[in-house]
């Protein structure tokens, strides 16, 4: 697949970068060829983002050099990176909603002259987009464009800046399956035009669909770099994790108790339909599905935030209506969200204040004042129980690491003493050891007789943690597999439905 194997357009040579006590990058070298899609894999904290930030001029390396066309270059800031033809697009596109598509494409141009020519700009923007086979009205304000369209605009912007190396940092994380296909078409077009693409994704199947070369980073070091044909998902995961995958997912069998929750024909117009399942006490029910499968929406419906409009829910043998989070908490359902920053935690507030928030009523004195001592002692219990690493429960949540924030969030919902806990991507964005702790905790909770719904995009995690796995695809329930039946292959096949051809594992 390598179309230009003689000379790399960009060479990264022996880059090292240290932040305080962590060696983020340690002697990393990487060759990037034009007309090649180079996938970069690694756990969180492996050093991928640091590498990108060095390539785009946000950070300066402590050692090593970056060589463009055989000449060492210095990238002091984003503007210099652009000038060298290095651009990046991110999961959340950096778009200006009030400006038109064309303005967004040309916003970073320095050589637009003293006076802006609107008609020329519209014309040039339309030309770039049509070269990419993207159909967008360039006069349309960017507000309201789909994420995929926004990314297309970002790519067009990069092209207008004569991009030679395009970094795509988890561009598919928020896209639907259909949009991913579009994005990949775009990437293929760019590859044909000789652009070098550095593609970062956590989704193995995407990497193996699109990449020509796969490089794995772990703990700031380059572990392997090989043409795709020589790599398998298993070998890549092994390189990323450094140990055998199974070690991380030790599932202890909990005693399955009474039926706790059951839904029949649960649906919400235009979102999901006909979802029927049971959760038993002491059971972990996994929810598998690709992005756009609407798993989270089912979770939100159970928590009453976005109530379902069809079907029945029975909880502990009694039919219930879940129309608000308050009601859900009352009957014993809690939902820990995947988006810690936006939905889960009040970042500037202390650990204690976050944990007591949903149950604040219990911490009020007779005069309606908050009993801080009670609040803090409750928080203190969770700090010990979940090993939250913080000097005190009065520390602001914003100052904790991702894994510890995750634990605070879990504490917050556990403090509500739920019987059913919905965990939405509880291990996304936290490091390997924190992950193991979360898994351990899920086991513990199940052993204590809680019912747990585990929504996760990490398939090995789901397979290891769940007693049964419900697979969803685009708002539909594709089936429920028992632990014995479920394999990566079967679950993915169900999750991808007839689209199986596009996203299969190698």
């Amino acid at each position: 697949m390598t179309t230009n194997s003689n000379k790399p357009v960009l060479e990264i040579r022996g880059i090292a970068k240290r932040f305080d006590t962590t060696q983020a990058l340690d002697d990393v070298s990487l060759d990037i060829f034009s007309g090649e899609i180079h996938a970069l894999l690694g756990e969180n904290g492996a050093g991928k983002s640091t590498l990108i930030k060095i390539m785009t001029g946000v950070h300066q390396p402590d050692r090593g050099e970056i060589v463009l066309d055989g000449r060492p270059i210095r990238i002091g800031n984003a503007v210099e990176a652009q000038a060298h033809g290095i651009a990046a697009i991110y999961q959340e596109p950096m778009i200006f909603p009030d400006l038109t598509v064309a303005e967004n494409i040309f916003i970073s141009h320095r050589d637009q002259g003293a006076i802006l020519g609107w008609s020329k700009m519209y014309h040039d923007a339309a030309a770039i987009l049509s070269k990419l086979d993207v159909h967008l009205d360039v006069r349309q304000p960017a507000r309201g464009l789909t994420l995929a369209a926004q990314q297309a605009v970002e790519i067009a912007k990069a092209i207008s800046l004569k991009v030679r190396v395009l970094i795509m940092d988890e561009p598919t994380a928020s896209l639907s399956a259909h949009e991913v296909t579009q994005l990949f078409k775009l990437a293929a077009t760019l590859r044909e035009q000789g652009v070098a693409i550095l593609f970062i994704s956590h989704r193995m199947e995407e990497v193996f669909e699109i990449a020509d070369r796969v490089t794995v980073l772990r703990d700031g070091k380059k572990i392997s770099s090989a043409p795709r044909a020589e790599v398998t998902p298993e070998s890549a995961i092994r390189d990323m994790v450094g140990r055998k995958v199974e070690e991380f997912f030790a599932k202890s069998q909990a005693q399955r108790g009474d039926r706790l929750l059951s839904t029949r024909g649960l649906g919400k117009a235009g979102v999901f339909s006909d979802i029927s399942f049971d959760v038993y006490r002491g059971e972990v029910l996994g929810f598998a599905g690709l992005v756009g499968s609407r798993r989270t929406d089912v979770g939100l419906a159970l928590f009453g935030v976005e109530p379902a409009d069809a079907g029945e829910i029975t909880f502990d043998g009694k039919p219930v209506k879940l129309h608000s989070a308050d009601r859900a908490l009352q009957i014993g359902i809690a939902y820990a969200t995947e988006d810690r920053r936006a939905l889960g935690l009040a970042m500037p507030m202390s650990i204690a204040a976050n944990i007591s928030l949903p149950m604040l009523r219990e911490y009020l004195s007779r005069l309606g004042l908050i009993k801080r001592a009670a609040e803090e002692s409750a928080a203190e219990r969770f700090r010990e129980r979940l090993a939250i690493r913080a000097p005190s429960v009065r520390v602001e949540v914003a100052r904790l690491s991702g894994g510890n924030q995750q634990k605070v969030m879990l504490s917050k919902w556990l403090n509500a003493r739920p019987q059913l806990l919905v965990l939405d991507e509880p291990t996304r964005g936290i490091d390997v050891s924190a992950k193991a702790e979360v898994h351990h905790m899920i086991n513990d909770l199940a052993a204590q007789g809680l019912g747990i719904i585990l929504i996760s995009s990490d398939l090995p995690e789901l397979l290891a943690m769940s007693d049964r796995i419900l697979v969803m695809r685009e708002g539909r329930q594709m089936g429920i597999f028992t632990r014995e039946e479920a394999t990566q292959e079967k679950v993915l096949t169900a999750a991808m439905g007839q689209n199986r051809g596009t996203g299969e594992m190698q």
Binding site: V79, L99, I107, L116
Partner: protein, 357 residues
């Protein structure tokens, strides 16, 4: 038909057109209520007031586009009016150009202080300019020693700016000051439409985070917006002096409210990123027409003026929240999003039609 409207009018422009419509309705209504309403006198009273507010509103718009505020404009207008007034009173021989430059320069320095603190000091703009609002006013009180600049001490050419007739449209006279204000509005409308600086003002207000990543000097641009706002306020101070002649320490107190009201009523988004100078001018016109007319019609007290302004701001923001957002969604949804080529031949055709036009 609907498509044609969507193509050539943005929701913001529809908003401005409806404001023009509202102004006309207001004029017609008061024409039936007040005797001799359509007179040269009414026209002059409204236009000379609007001229001053509009110049300040242009500056305020520059700042608000970047998702910041300038609350100190009233104090800057007052200070420059008083300062230039005393200089001219002491020495009637100062040339008009020197006097104007003095006012603009003084305003620029005050704007620079705001701008540096906001852009480089990273202090929230509300706090910075609330502080300088008080400080600039206090400077004026100190500097003046509670004395007043009086009309008869000022040179005749200055007073003529607000009194003589530059040219007439029918029965309506255009004062030099009004022409100047219109010129300012037009110049800055062109600046924000056609200069990279203007584009970047919109970009910063639209998505500050992305602006930083896009690699242009956001701090310098925000500071420039404040310097321009200060300069324009200085110029407005000069116009204020010309119009009123008698300047006390409370000159132009509360003008920040009128300016922000004009900007907001004129459709400039309080969260930055959208709005035009034409809109700000229309906002100023709307507010002053209503104000002047109500005062004459009901003989309401000047004390109600602020309440009226406050009410207008709230109504404008509320209608924006309800109507403009809906319009925007409607526009955004009108089939102009990215789709694979095969699915939307219609969009393609539409685009080609657009190029011919």
């Amino acid at each position: 038909m609907m498509d044609a409207i969507k193509r050539y009018l943005r929701p913001e422009q529809i908003r401005e057109l409806s404001l023009v419509f509202l102004i006309i309705v207001t004029l017609i209504f008061f024409g039936t209520q007040i005797e001799g309403y359509y007179s040269g006198r009414t026209f002059n009273r409204i236009t000379t007031t609007v001229a001053i507010i509009a110049v300040v509103a242009v500056g305020e718009t520059l700042v608000i586009l970047t998702r910041n505020y300038d609350l100190s404009v009233g104090s800057i207008v007052g200070f420059t009016a008083y300062f230039v007034g005393t200089q001219l009173a002491n020495n009637n021989g100062i040339s008009p150009l020197a006097a104007v430059l003095m006012a603009i320069g003084l305003g620029a320095v005050m704007g620079l202080i705001n701008g540096v603190l906001v852009a480089y000091g990273r202090v929230p703009s509300i706090i910075v300019t609330l502080g300088t609002l008080a400080i600039y006013r206090a400077l004026l009180v100190n500097y003046s020693g509670a004395k007043t600049v009086t009309t008869d001490s000022l040179p005749q050419w200055l007073l003529d700016l607000a009194r003589v007739n530059l040219f007439s449209v029918g029965a309506f006279d255009i004062r030099p000051m009004v022409a100047l204000a219109l010129l300012i509005v037009v110049i800055f409308q062109l600046v924000i439409t056609y200069l990279p600086f203007g584009r970047r003002l919109y970009a910063i207000g639209s998505n500050p985070e992305a602006a930083r990543v896009a690699g242009f000097p956001t701090q310098r641009i925000v500071m420039t917006a404040y310097v321009l706002c200060g300069s324009l306020s200085g110029l407005a101070g000069f116009m204020f002096l010309a119009r009123f002649g008698n300047i006390t320490v409370v000159a132009a107190q509360g003008m920040e409210l009128s300016a922000i009201a004009a900007v907001v009523v004129g459709g400039v988004n309080v969260f930055g990123g959208s709005g035009t100078m034409i809109g700000a001018l229309l906002g100023a016109l709307m507010i002053n027409t209503l104000e002047q007319s109500l005062i004459r019609w009901l003989q309401i007290s000047e004390f109600w003026r602020d309440a009226l302004l406050g009410l207008l701001i709230l109504v404008a923001v509320a209608t924006d929240a309800v109507i403009i957002n809906r319009l925007r969604n409607l526009w955004a949804r009108s089939g102009l999003q990215a789709r694979p080529a095969t699915e939307t031949p219609g969009v393609q055709a539409q685009e080609e039609a657009g190029h011919d036009a």
